[in-house]
């Protein structure tokens, strides 16, 4: 059995940033497992610009953003395996993986970082009637075909769903010579970023039909056309509003689902709202030493926030490995003392730890309600908290001139004005350790959207 301190499942933006940060926090034994033939994940097919505005203060394309992190991984000498599929992670952190060179093999990890990302919701999840002809693609598949393989999926296109990938592909297919006839969105608002609606649809005169859906697909061998209809407030098609569009291609941009088969298999508890693991302030799942970050945890709009979140997971995994070595395994204790750089190192005295635990060790539950659909994290242990903690969440519909608030038990402590919040744009509130320690008996923090 091969041994590593930290095994990272997935070499996309989350896995790369987690690896870099874990290494910078003193862990040398790190392995990234990536199933594709290159690092960088989905960024490799996102050739449009707009990445990195927060992280690097410049607008990069996806491959350029990925390269910044890939270079760090290589410069830091972090190990990775490509073309390697993780089959399973066991409860005692044995990672079973396979590739062409080594066949099936096991790796014993001290800590595992889940960074598998997400996948697209397929047609099968939508209940669209009609045959199953060629010409129906998820927007991301079309993106890969056009941008990486150099193939055009079709010439006349209708797009269902106004997620960002669909909007980006509306522009991309138009530039490559296709006629994108319409983008239909079931909801009364778009699921994509505003700038993508303006720069991908409005710039090219592509209509966006809100509260519309596909009610029929015509064509047996190949898509010949689709029928759109308006929907009522219960999302039921309204008879008499049907419109037929001839097209040879239907792209679906109808949502992303975190890819948590491996997580579920090892017993990680999943939040039904995000379809991602439930995590504490350290981004640690209910399984000790198993962390999650990026789109496998909850689907993000901006990669910058994935990198930020993943860095925290990497840092926390490093701290976990060091603490475990300090408390249990004498063989590793010398590495701990040399690695404990600067910040409060609790590794050397078990007695102090116990006393501290009885004073502060309790868990605060984060409760999303009144317009807030979920929070990441779900719980906070004040004694494990860094000085600052970013709580990320999404709202359930569009609210204008509202406040996002956090109640510490019954007291409203944070109350921030927002001109608009929308489901398509992730929100965040920052908590400080100092703030939380002022409430030693705090049980819950409730997050709400409040309209004046």
């Amino acid at each position: 059995m091969i041994n590593y301190d930290i095994v990272i499942v997935g070499g996309g933006p989350a896995g790369l940033a987690a690896a870099v940060c874990a290494k910078q926090n003193g862990i040398d034994s790190i392995l990234i497992l990536e199933r594709d033939k290159e690092l960088g994940g989905i960024l490799n097919q996102c050739i449009h610009n707009g990445f990195g505005l927060h992280t690097f203060k410049e607008e990069l394309t996806g491959p350029e953003y990925a390269d910044r992190f890939i270079r760090q991984v290589k410069d830091l000498g972090i190990e990775y395996k490509l073309n390697t599929m993780v089959m399973e992670v066991s409860q005692d952190k044995i990672v079973t993986a396979m590739n062409r060179e080594e066949g099936m093999f096991g790796i014993q990890a001290k800590s595992v970082i889940l960074a598998m990302g997400c996948r697209e919701r397929p047609r099968g999840a939508l209940n669209i009637p009609g045959y199953r002809p060629a010409g129906i693609y998820s927007a991301g598949t079309a993106q890969r075909l056009v941008n990486m393989e150099g193939y055009m999926p079709g010439r006349e296109v209708v797009i269902l769903g106004s997620g960002d990938i669909g909007l980006i592909m509306a522009r991309r297919m138009t530039l490559e010579g296709a006629k994108v006839k319409v983008v239909a969105e079931l909801m009364p608002y778009s699921g994509g970023l505003k700038r993508n609606i303006v720069q991908c649809l409005d710039d090219y005169g592509i209509p966006l039909k809100l509260s519309h859906t596909v009610v029929d697909i015509k064509g047996k061998e190949r898509v010949e056309g689709i029928t759109l209809a308006q929907v009522d407030e219960n999302n039921r098609p309204i008879p008499g509003t049907e419109e037929f569009y001839t097209c040879d291609t239907l792209l679906l941009s109808v949502g992303l689902i975190p890819e948590n088969e491996i997580s579920r298999g090892m017993g990680v508890e999943i939040n039904p709202v995000t379809s991602g693991p439930k995590v504490n302030e350290s981004l640690e799942t209910n399984m000790e030493g198993v962390f999650a970050c990026g789109n496998v945890l909850h689907v993000h709009d901006l990669v910058d926030f994935v990198s930020e979140e993943a860095a925290a997971a990497g840092r926390n995994a490093a701290a976990y490995v060091k603490a475990a070595a300090g408390s249990g395994n004498p063989a590793d204790s010398d590495t701990v003392s040399t690695d404990a750089a600067g910040e409060q190192s609790t590794d050397n005295s078990g007695a102090v730890e116990v006393i501290k635990d009885t004073i502060e060790a309790h868990e605060i539950r984060l409760i999303p309600t009144a317009g807030v659909r979920y929070t990441v994290p779900s719980t906070i242990r004040p004694d494990h908290m860094d000085e600052n903690l970013t709580v990320r969440f999404r709202v359930g519909s569009v609210y204008k001139n509202c406040y996002v608030s956090a109640y510490f038990d019954d007291e409203r402590v944070i109350h921030r004005k927002r001109q608009v919040v929308a489901p398509g744009e992730m929100e965040e509130l920052k908590l400080t350790k100092e703030q939380i320690l002022q409430y030693p008996k705090l049980k819950t923090i409730t997050f709400k959207v409040e309209e004046e």
């Binding site: 490799n44 050739i47 449009h48 610009n49 607008e59 990069l60 394309t61 996806g62 491959p63 350029e64 390269d67 056009v146 941008n147 990486m148 393989e149 150099g150 530039l175 490559e176 970023l193 505003k194 700038r195 609606i197 303006v198 720069q199 409005d202 710039d203 001109q419 608009v420 919040v421 929308a422 398509g424 744009e425």
Partner: protein
């Protein structure tokens, strides 16, 4: 007097902006909630520019396509011409991020540069 309607892209608010124009001159901007909307509207109606991204073919590389972009933003009206000029471009691997693929695309004075590294295909062993 000409009226142009825009949606501001600076934040999720998406203010509906109305710009009054007198020829090429902006007379007024309304509908914006903050200063950024005003700035965006003035630039967008007088000189809208975009970074254009696309792909070109690569010969002898690990991948068949390499992603590219205009090094700086170009006038919006030049996008179609820029894409057309890239249609038959093919480069030889290896290609690295920042390599100039086409100089002065569509007479804009802006170069097209690679945004991805494509290494040479390794010769097959045996």
């Amino acid at each position: 007097m000409e009226i142009k309607n825009l949606i501001c892209i600076n934040c999720p608010m998406g203010c509906a902006l109305t710009v009054e124009m007198e020829g090429q001159e902006v007379v007024s901007v309304s509908g914006n909630t903050c200063k950024r909307g005003d700035t965006y509207a003035r630039k967008e109606v007088t000189n809208p520019t975009r970074i254009v991204t696309s792909t070109v073919r690569v010969a002898g590389g690990e991948a068949d396509m390499v992603s590219v972009k205009t090094k700086e933003d170009i006038p919006k009206g030049k996008i179609a011409e820029c894409i057309k000029a890239l249609k038959d471009v093919q480069v030889q691997a290896p290609v690295y991020i920042g390599d100039v693929i086409v100089t002065d695309i569509a007479g804009t004075g802006v170069d097209i540069v690679a945004t991805k590294n494509i290494e040479l295909t390794l010769p097959l062993l045996g």
